[in-house]
């Protein structure tokens, strides 16, 4: 049957579904791993993304590339997962948050007393960082050490560039809860990166 689709209006069509795994599988998996830090969960999400893409084939408008479209689907699935995590976490989690943050901050300031641990100036190093594969491995390792809810909030903020009101709406937390989490994530990440990367350079 001849297609009546006007290709000017729909410049791109989806490639055959059987080629998706080879084309986009690794990319989507990496995207999911960065945010979920769990191999099985990431595999699962990628698989679900492909299935949702098959179901939603018609919603592909061709205004973005096939990959961007799939990343969009995956992104929603990841956020759904974060939301579920937050809903199911114990109530004490947010109560403990304050205390944990105090501890992290105290550790930071105890460390200052020790001149060897004085925060370093990272700025001049940035260009080298971005080209170093080793740096990213260390960064991923440091993110894995963050508490789960903290790292979810941090990923939404720094990886997906969502703002406070969007994140709070998705996760059902207050702005202050979020800022405490972000502050804590930053203190922990900077400490981990400094110890494992910057001090060794």
């Amino acid at each position: 049957m001849k297609s009546k689709i006007n290709h000017n209006e729909y410049p791109k069509a989806l490639s055959p579904a059987e080629t998706w795994v080879d084309q986009h599988g690794d990319y989507l998996f990496r995207y999911a791993m960065m945010r979920l830090r769990n191999k099985d969960m990431a595999e699962n999400m990628v698989q679900e993304t492909f299935l949702a893409a098959i179901k939603g084939k018609r919603s592909f408008s061709g205004r973005s590339t096939e990959r961007t479209w799939m990343v969009g689907i995956l992104k929603h699935k990841v956020i759904d997962h974060y939301r579920k995590d937050f809903r199911e976490r114990p109530v004490t989690d947010l109560q403990n948050l304050q205390r944990d943050e105090e501890q992290t901050v105290d550790q930071f300031y105890d460390a200052i007393e020790n001149p060897r641990k004085y925060p370093k100036d990272w700025m001049p190093d940035q260009r080298a960082i971005l080209q170093s594969k080793e740096f990213w491995v260390i960064l991923h390792g440091c993110m894995e050490k963050l508490p789960k809810t903290t790292s979810s909030a941090f990923a939404m903020r720094e990886l997906d560039d969502m703002d406070t009101s969007q994140i709070c709406k998705e996760l059902g937390i207050t702005p202050t809860n979020l800022w405490v989490m972000l502050h804590r994530a930053r203190l922990q990440l900077r400490e981990c990166l400094e110890r494992n990367w910057f001090e060794k350079k």
Partner: protein, 100 residues
């Protein structure tokens, strides 16, 4: 101890602001506009404190690193542990075959 709802509010006078308080303000300044009082408190502290100044620069560096993350993802080859395992790929292909 501060309660969650006024966590970010400076409780000390500007000249005696603790690093703890100042670091919170630095972190928050990356999320929203500080009030005049918060801003002044933070600036005065930063003028005197190299530690908190560097903390601020590190947050800024972290943000810059994450902003570039997608680009790096696109341009660097995967390390092995970031790749889908062959059996996972095959499983997905089979499932797609069934559902397409």
């Amino acid at each position: 101890m501060t309660t969650p709802d006024n966590w970010e509010q400076p409780t000390d006078l500007p000249l005696t602001t603790s690093c703890k308080q100042a670091a919170r303000l630095v972190s928050i300044s990356f999320e929203r506009k500080l009030t005049w009082r918060e801003y002044t408190t933070m600036r005065i502290h930063l003028m005197m404190c190299k530690t908190c100044t560097f903390y601020g620069r590190q947050i800024k560096a972290l943000r810059a690193i994450f902003t570039r993350h997608e680009e790096v993802l696109n341009n660097t080859p995967c390390t092995c542990d970031e790749q889908l395992a062959a059996d996972a790929k095959q499983r997905m292909k089979d499932i797609i075959q069934q559902h397409k």
